[in-house]
């Protein structure tokens, strides 16, 4: 994990900051002269060897200092954390609805493979996973914003946090995301239900309810757990689109705006955070999987 973060940060740093004059040009604007840029470089310790610069930058980044945003003229940390918190709120709402929903549907579908409820749930989940976020956002807002007029079409949260503004962004992400988890749960549940120990439990005469809740679920939910944790990574793509669509002031919009403007310090900070979250969730999922499944516990 530390190794991957080091490599990623090194790649990122060399990608954006190897050409020192270009960095100065970004900060001082396209009309600055070469002399002005060189003075700026001298002032900001940019003339040290690459390794020292990288070490200094990485050291500051670990302490939460990502430099000054070029576009917004404030420290990157000042915009980064509130934006990240907004996205976290969105993510919490999404997960709070999506996990129970997809697990329930997956378990119901996996209980009896090939049954009507299995086919219905599977078909619905294929369809919803095929509709990209910007398409479902278009369709949902056509219905609920423009036709019925029930919900606001933007979620800028200008007058503080409002629940009705988060309904549409969250639904879009849930609709796109739940199908995948439900399908994983279904596959896992279906496999468990055909295993010998379930047959034994049923033949022993245990009530079906108890077999499902006590024996089957515990093993069937191991795979979905890892899928859910890894879903954080996947959710981010949707988050960018949804935040753009609904003008929600979150992390994804910040990264996108920064990259459209060429605000390298914000791009670097956002990328580092995103990769960190992704790598950490990978690590948690591996760890959780080993804890939950004794068969693959390493010595």
């Amino acid at each position: 994990m530390v190794l991957i973060m080091t490599v990623v940060s090194l790649v990122l740093f060399s990608l954006f900051e190897t050409d020192k004059l270009a960095v100065a040009g970004k900060v001082l604007g396209p009309y600055s002269t070469t002399e002005q840029r060189e003075i700026w470089l001298e002032k900001n310790d940019y003339n040290e060897p690459f390794v020292f610069r990288y070490a200094g930058w990485a050291g500051n980044a670990i302490q939460g200092d990502f430099g000054q945003s070029i576009q917004l003229r404030v420290p990157v940390a000042d915009v980064l954390w509130p934006r990240l918190a907004n996205t976290a709120i969105l993510a919490v709402v999404v997960f709070a609805v999506m996990i129970p929903l997809s697990l329930t549907l997956g378990v119901l579908a996996g209980l009896k493979e090939g049954s009507f409820q299995d086919r219905a749930i599977s078909t619905v989940s294929v369809i919803t996973t095929s509709v990209p976020e910007f398409a479902s956002a278009t369709l949902l807002s056509a219905i609920f914003v423009f036709w019925l007029g029930w919900l606001p079409g933007t979620s800028a949260m200008t007058s503080g946090f409002r629940l009705d503004e988060i309904v549409l962004p969250a639904s879009v992400l849930i609709i796109y995301g739940f199908g995948y988890i439900a399908r994983m749960t279904r596959a896992s549940m279906a496999e468990v239900m055909t295993s010998p120990y379930i047959r034994t439990a049923i033949l022993k005469g245990l009530p079906y309810r108890r077999v499902v809740f006590w024996h089957a679920l515990r093993n069937a939910l191991i795979t979905p757990f890892t899928v859910i944790v890894l879903h954080l990574n996947w959710l981010l793509s949707g988050v960018v689109v949804v935040e753009v669509f609904f003008a929600y002031k979150g992390f994804g919009k910040l990264l996108l705006d920064a990259s459209l403007f060429g605000d390298i310090y914000v791009i670097e900070a956002c990328t580092l955070i995103a990769v960190f979250v992704a790598v950490a969730s990978q690590y948690i999922s591996d760890l959780g999987y080993t804890l939950l499944n004794p068969r693959i516990r390493f010595k």
Partner: protein, 279 residues
């Protein structure tokens, strides 16, 4: 497998047939688009016409026109052509590199495996959207760079699948037979192993094509996509979304178009997987 046999194979699953029909619908439209009696997709005619409205020259705007007065039907069909061409190209190139790396990592193994797997892990640790944004922000939004970004994002995943399949296949007798005949590693990888790994790869390719189509449209939506003015489904939604209150069709038409095409690929992949599990 011949065409007729493939069709018989696919017809075993209703899901696969529906998926194939949806995909073929768009592919055929995209191929014959230049022959259809359509307006030019980039010419301004009359703005904000509703679907089925009558045009000045007596023809009909079947799907209406957009805010710049361009015919929606023409834009959607030419948009299909564009997204299909780029998505197929990007997925194809990603597959080329993914298969190459997977074969080498799985069959040759050793240090090659270590290096290829490590590079793949680094790339896979990026959330895909961040990879796209960083690559395209750094290099600029051109078709070539989008293909490059898709390759970087997909090849590691393909490599993992191929590597896993190769590790299994290389212990088979026919590989030993080829080895004792003295065939080169190159020959064994391409002629003995790769054709036998095709089943799961075809299923994965269908899913990935659908996902690449979403990606290209999504990049168009967030403003990092293929350059205008040629129609791009994502861009069409982005441009017309603020006008949804009085001309909703402008964003709904491309939204339905992309959903049906991607659904086609996903159903096809699902059906193929179902058939292969049944055998």
């Amino acid at each position: 497998m011949g065409l007729k046999k493939s069709l018989e194979y696919i017809s075993e699953s209703r899901l696969a047939m529906i998926g194939l029909a949806l995909v073929l619908f768009w592919v055929v439209l995209a191929v014959i688009a230049p022959l259809l009696p359509l307006y030019d997709p980039n010419t301004s005619l009359e703005a904000f016409k509703k679907p089925l409205a009558e045009a000045k020259d007596g023809a009909t705007y079947w799907l209406g026109t957009d805010h710049k007065g361009r015919d929606m039907m023409s834009r959607v069909i030419f948009g299909a052509q564009r997204v299909l061409i780029w998505a197929t190209m990007a997925t194809g190139i990603a597959y080329f590199f993914g298969i190459l790396m997977g074969l080498v990592a799985g069959y040759v193994g050793g240090w090659w495996d270590e290096i290829i797997s490590f590079v793949s892990n680094v790339l896979l640790s990026f959330p895909v959207i961040v990879l796209y944004i960083v690559i395209i922000a750094y290099l600029g939004a051109t078709g070539f760079n989008i293909v490059l970004a898709v390759t970087f994002a997909s090849a590691p995943g393909i490599m993992r699948i191929v590597r896993g399949l190769v590790l299994d296949l290389k212990t088979r007798e026919y590989v030993f037979a080829a080895q004792s005949r003295g065939e080169s590693a190159f020959f064994i990888m391409l002629v003995e192993i790769l054709p036998n790994a095709r089943g799961p790869l075809i299923v994965d390719a269908c899913l990935r094509l659908g996902y690449t189509i979403i990606t290209i449209a999504m990049l168009g939506y967030i403003g990092l996509g293929l350059p205008p003015p040629d129609p791009d489904w994502g861009k069409m939604i982005a441009e017309t979304q603020p006008l949804g209150s009085f001309a909703g069709h402008m964003a709904i038409v491309p939204a339905v178009a992309i959903s049906s095409l991607v659904l086609g690929f996903n159903l096809l992949a699902d059906g193929l997987r179902e058939i292969s599990l049944r055998d």
